[in-house]
């Protein structure tokens, strides 16, 4: 091996090249990581959804149609409709609607909620939440889960929490 003398200029330029490549790789990796956080396709249902026409809901019944996809029960009373959140207010399990006993019953700690969503048995400290519900321009029901209404704060009196028919 010949002993080539590396000049300062050559040394600095190699170092410069090396660091540039290294930082470029790091930057590329970082960009890819960032990109990974924003997937092309989101397999999550959107926060608001159309729930068909009000005529589809029978008076006095709880609709389980949107429970598995959106976590929402749509309840039809004689006066109108409201959308109940299918999340127990105790620790967040999904209650079941027991049609025979006309109540929502949580399988985790036994909390029970009435037809209206009011808590009446078990440890749940407050009623189920309701979501914003309105009639779209095409006559279909629109449920917006980004806006919720809590009974204990008196929010169920808000006209947006109830769709009068």
């Amino acid at each position: 091996m010949s002993k080539e003398k590396v000049t300062r200029r050559v040394f600095v330029s190699w170092i410069f090249l090396g660091w540039t490549l290294f930082l470029a790789c790091l930057g590329g990796l970082g960009t890819m990581l960032l990109r990974y956080l924003f997937p092309n396709v989101l397999f999550e249902p959107s926060q608001s959804f159309k729930a068909g026409y009000p005529e589809n809901y029978a008076v006095g019944e709880v609709s389980l149609l949107w429970k598995s996809k959106h976590g929402v029960w749509i309840v039809r009373t004689a006066e109108g409709l409201y959308a109940l959140s299918a999340v127990c207010t105790h620790l967040g399990c999904t209650p079941n609607w027991l049609s025979g006993e006309k109540k929502f019953k949580c399988p985790c700690h036994g909390s029970g909620f009435r037809f209206s969503g009011i808590n009446f048995e078990g440890p749940a400290p407050r009623p189920l939440e309701r979501f914003k519900i309105l009639l779209g321009d095409d006559g279909q029901i629109l449920v917006d889960k980004t806006k919720k209404f809590q009974q204990e704060k008196g929010e169920w009196n808000d006209p947006a929490s109830f769709l009068a028919i």
């Binding site: 598995s68 976590g71 105790h90 399988p107 985790c108 078990g122 440890p123 400290p125």
Partner: protein, 371 residues
């Protein structure tokens, strides 16, 4: 047979079973001379002899094996999830018996002014290698063989992929958390999920600092540490193991209570309409609406809670714990008292729920504060 099963099912309702078990506990582990008298009278102290051990073991085995003839009981007990609980009942009974039978033997020796059994052991020398290490190796091999056999014979209870929209019914915590889950039925999640578990851990860590009874170091005894052993065993057996067993065997669909021989009917109707203390007082008692002001509404509950902690603490100090206060000193004693009052609040609240459907004593859902 059906009549016996129905009788056991009826007895297993917690509001009936729990007081009996608590009462029985104090007769089996007598804290004072009153209980000791009856303990002797009913031969309960004989439980910790060899014959008593055989009696306990065979009674339990007989109950389990006769119970296995019943389809519903077999279904619950032989579930892969629940096998550890059956093992746990046997193991804890065995170790309880081992400790207390030695304690009984030593208590008899100490009464005759003899040295405890362990004192003689310490006069004798045994080498770590090979005596201890070879025993440990054999124990390890046995444990490994047991786990392998269990793993081969019983399949792990795997279910379908989790789905946010459906919770299994009943949704049970892992067996070691079932007591916590049972606690959550009676309290607000912040209290039963965060504050109580923290207090349990802190309280267990505080034991060596609170307990300044230097008797009974290095040997088993019951008579010299009655209070310490009784409090510990109450927490361990009643508030932990018993609640685990309730959670495993007696809790079915919709988290309702089912007797051990009862079919788990998901449509079982149970009226459990819970009422807050404020509603009891203002709506049912005084026949008026709930006051709008939160503090007026919850004043009775807050009063009762402070009465429990301050008045109850005072009363205990003046009566049963008079001597303990002197021997522990004010600081140690107050830690002990606060921890004890928190621990006893759990069975009290459970009983109130079962008897009166009392939901929360103080209920301020506006601030997520419920007791």
């Amino acid at each position: 047979m059906e009549a016996i099963k129905n009788f056991i099912n009826a007895c297993a309702v917690p509001s009936r079973m729990f007081p009996v078990i608590v009462l029985l506990f104090f007769f089996v582990f007598p804290v004072n001379s009153f209980f000791e008298k009856y303990n002797k009278l009913f031969f309960l102290d004989r439980l910790w002899t060899k014959k008593g051990g055989i009696f306990l073991f065979s009674t339990l085995t007989m109950f389990l094996s006769i119970g296995m003839l019943d389809e519903n009981f077999r279904h619950t007990v032989s579930k892969p999830d629940n096998l550890p609980i059956v093992g746990l009942i046997y193991a804890s009974l065995f170790f309880l018996w081992v400790a207390l039978s030695q304690a009984r033997e030593n208590d008899l020796r100490l009464e005759k002014n003899e040295k405890p059994k362990e004192w003689h052991d310490s006069q004798e020398k045994i080498l770590v290698w090979p005596d201890l290490v070879s025993i440990e190796l054999i124990a390890m091999l046995f444990a490994l063989g047991f786990l392998f056999t269990w793993g081969i014979l019983v399949d792990a209870p795997l279910e379908e992929p989790a789905n946010l929209a459906t919770s299994p019914n009943p949704a049970k915590a892992p067996w070691y958390f079932l007591a916590l889950q049972e606690m959550l039925v009676y309290f607000d999640p912040a209290l039963a999920g965060v504050i109580f578990p923290t207090l349990i851990v802190v309280g267990l860590m505080a034991i060596p600092y609170i307990d300044n009874n230097h008797k009974a170091t290095g040997y088993y005894t019951f008579k010299e540490r009655k209070l310490a052993i009784t409090i510990f065993l109450f927490g361990w057996i009643i508030l932990w193991l018993f609640m685990m067993v309730i959670g495993t065997i007696l809790r079915g669909p919709n988290w309702n209570f089912y007797g051990p021989f009862e079919y788990w009917d998901p449509h079982k109707v149970e009226a459990l309409t819970n009422i807050n203390l404020s509603e009891y007082l203002y709506v049912i008692g005084l026949n008026m609406g709930l006051p709008g002001n939160i503090f007026i509404r919850e004043a009775p509950g807050i009063f009762l809670i402070s009465l429990y902690f301050i008045g109850g603490g005072f009363l205990l100090t003046k009566t049963v714990f008079k001597n303990l206060f002197k021997s522990l000193g004010p600081l140690r004693y107050s830690f002990f008292l606060v921890l004890l009052l928190f621990a006893t609040s759990l069975p009290i609240k459970m009983t109130l729920r079962w008897l009166f459907n009392l939901k929360y004593i103080v209920s301020i859902p506006e601030f997520f504060f419920n007791i």
